[in-house]
Amino acid sequence: MLKNKLLLTGVCLLASYASKASIDDYYPYKVLPSASNYGNTGILEMPNARMMQEGQLRWNFSASYPNEFTTLTASPFNWLEATYRYTEIKNEKYGPSGYSGNQTLKDKGFDIKALIKKETYYFPAIALGLRDIAGSGDFSSEYLVGTKKYGKLDLTLGLGWGVLGTDNNIGNPLKSIREGFGTRNDTSDLGGSFTVKNWFSGKTALFGGIEYDIPKRGLRLKMEYDTSNPDFYEKVSKVHSRFNVGVDYSWSENLNITTAFERGSQFRVSFKLTGNFLNDSIPKPKPKKVAKLNKQQQENVKNNKGIFYTSLNLNLRQEGILIQGAELRDDEVDVAIATGRFFSATRPVGRTARMTAALAPDEVKKINIYHMNGDLEVAKFSIGRDYFERADNNKLSSAELLELSTIESPNEDALYSRAEFQPTVTFPEFNWSMSPGLNHQIGGPEGFYLGQLFWKTDFTFKFRRNLLLYSSLGFNIYDTFDDFANPSQSSIPKVRSDIQEYLSEGKNNIQRIQLEYFSQPFKDVFTRFDLGYLEPMFGGVGGEVLWRPFEKNYSLGFSLHKVKQRDYDQLFSFRDYQTTTGHLGIYYDFPYQIRSQLLIGKYLAGDKGATIDLSRRFQSGFSLGIFASKTNLSAEEFGEGSFDKGFYFSIPTQLFYADFSTGIISFGLHPLTKDGAAKLQQHNTLISIVGDQNRDSMIRDWDNLLK
């Protein structure tokens, strides 16, 4: 009897453990580590070793006195967070009142945080972070931090330097390695440079914190020992308490609200908006299925191929796929397609293969699909009809279908120009589109935010295949640009720094009117010629050539333009400045969908140097990137920032909708608009058209073929 009781107790305990172990999935809120005041994942003022999930963007607004933070944090990997931040320092003026009125001081900063060791059963997660690098350094800190989870508790202990080391409660352990770690120097006046020699130097402090999750209520309670004292302007009364407390509420998976009481005297409220763009989570329309032809219909098709072409054309049009050429042969079908609906190339190819397999006579064994972007054929897929049908009926895996298919680069004689069936296209062809647009100037002395809402209207006339006239007009709706009062003081040709004049005088403008001609003279070699108003600030003539070997993960390009600066009103006249600009481009795709670009050449202001661009693309099409340029200008000639740098991201619009789309929402930010390292902003660059159309890209998206 006792044995049975013990057994029953054991079973109950196990059941209770199993039940407890999984209940987290069923709470109404998903409580996750949340942002610190500084934007990246952390406690309040202190960081922890938790990280955002891969492929996320987080906007954080954290208000208190004297410091108010507005940040954007991205996670290109699950082990890396990068944060760009504006800090409003409310107890300090931007500058003399004659220069910036009553505006408070704004400080820019950039943080980076890397997970260097994942959490295990016994050991904490360890992260290393740098705060406010390449900025003015007012919040400059470095830290090494560990966080360990015990049930619903998250315990953090870390070592901080710089502002995080202000408490100076421990000696700098690195002094034993080198005496120089004992002192920390003031940062550069110009800002923007990496003061590496200061890192992990000077005062050091041990900090820590406790976080506790209450998923039933969507709360994460936070308490920390704060070793920073960023009220360095000494206009705030002294710190009353080193302990900060706060509570984070998960309003939804995307929105968190935090309230905190810090330093024994300050209240803080933060709003955190997070988007996860790793995968497309909104279901999209499934491929259209058609009934296979019966014997009589097949006979009709064999006797009159026109029936096949027209029915295929009609059915594909309903999927947003446009046949550019087709040829039904004895045992093969060739189809060239273009689409304005699908972001991924393999998806329309799969839908075309499915439709072709249904509508072609039984004798057809192989389907060749030429995928086009614009009027350029960029990839040829050869798929066995039987294999495709088996894969479509789950009798063959997607990987097996890939193994049995070929993907190659098409020859330069495009199918659309030699196919038996060529749809009638009447030239010139006219297209137009409209959308609202925004221009900003952020962080200037006249006001933190000056902006313009305008209406963007694009027209495209296509005179023949590969020859088009593209124009983009901007019509002002509302702006606050009349407040501009700080003309450029640049000592080199003002190719970008006259931005205030361009924005204020060109509110209604011709952004571009340009003639473009594309060609593919040889296999894998593409060219583009352009002429006209090439961007809002420059017009001219030039072109580019790109060699993109289809089988390889690299490309080489060269662009050259003779340009003249446009007038501030961005209508038809020019200014006196003219130059020749051009770059050699080397493009290389690393594993994990990391892309690199190295551009070497002469920039608009005549300076010579190189730009490196690194980006990570996710399976959803979401991209995150950073870039930096160094030219032969000295840091003094370049001005604040020391060298050109910035970041960007782009999100496919289809991630927000229940249908496919080729649209992209882009955001790019140069922290400073400078004349050095300024490139011509070209439209329809070859790398943007064919760069993501090599074999590796097709294999990456192969699974979409059956979806």
Binding site: S19, S22, T310, G320, L322, G437, H440, G444, F667
Partner: protein, 215 residues
């Protein structure tokens, strides 16, 4: 002293990753509709005639905002009725209540209830159930129910209108702070013709309308 900070950002412009070719090859349309009709025949609407011609008990089911699906009665085991859809979703109903699901992303694996019949007096007591889920697994989640009659209504069913009693069931699990309201439209013989039920915290509501009642 801060330097002049000029920042230009272009935000939120919709652009196209490809050259817009949406107007290439226009002009095919009505002339080919006949060809389309000859080859196509699919229609996603569930045809009432189709339901009428199926010789089994059937009901229309909608899960959350998904499409309406037809389910037919697969089997009866005592007072449990198992319904199945073409895409392999199973619902087991007992007294019109969903007591088990299969084939959904998250499933109600089992439930243990206090003895329950629509014919008994339901309205002055709290009923307790223990629900177990799969994917992810959770066993024996305690859920309490309180029933309330809310009047009679003319309800449009698949083939007819019926005057049915609406009963609302307030369910609550204090453990995970989950509460919802289920609805049952019941005839005088205590048969549930129509219902909306929340069967799991991780599933949207399941709506069903019985088309052909089991014999």
């Amino acid at each position: 002293m801060k330097y002049l900070l000029n920042t230009l950002a272009i935000i939120l412009f919709a652009s196209c990753s490809a050259i817009d070719t949406s107007r290439i090859a226009p002009g095919y349309g009505a002339a080919f509709n006949s060809i389309k009709l000859a080859i196509f025949g699919d229609n996603n609407e569930i045809d009432k005639n189709l339901i009428a011609n199926i010789p089994y008990a059937s009901m229309l089911v909608k899960i959350g905002k998904g499409p309406t699906a037809l389910m037919i009665l697969e089997g009866v085991n005592g007072d449990e009725y198992t319904w199945v859809s073409a895409d392999g979703v199973y619902l087991v109903l007992k007294e019109g209540k969903i007591v088990k699901t299969e084939g959904l992303p998250n499933n109600l694996f089992s439930r243990f209830d206090s003895p329950f019949k629509w014919s008994q007096n339901l309205y002055e007591q709290t009923y307790t159930s223990y629900l177990s889920f799969r994917n992810p697994r959770l066993d024996n989640l305690k859920v309490t129910s309180i029933y309330e009659e809310n009047g009679k209504f003319d309800v449009e069913l698949v083939f007819s209108n019926k005057n049915l009693q609406l009963v609302e069931e307030q369910i609550e699990s204090e453990t995970i702070a989950w509460s919802q309201t289920n609805e049952y439209w019941i005839d005088n013989n205590n048969f549930v013709w129509k219902s909306t039920q929340y069967v799991s915290p991780k599933l949207p509501p399941i709506h069903y309308r019985v088309a052909k009642k089991p014999l």
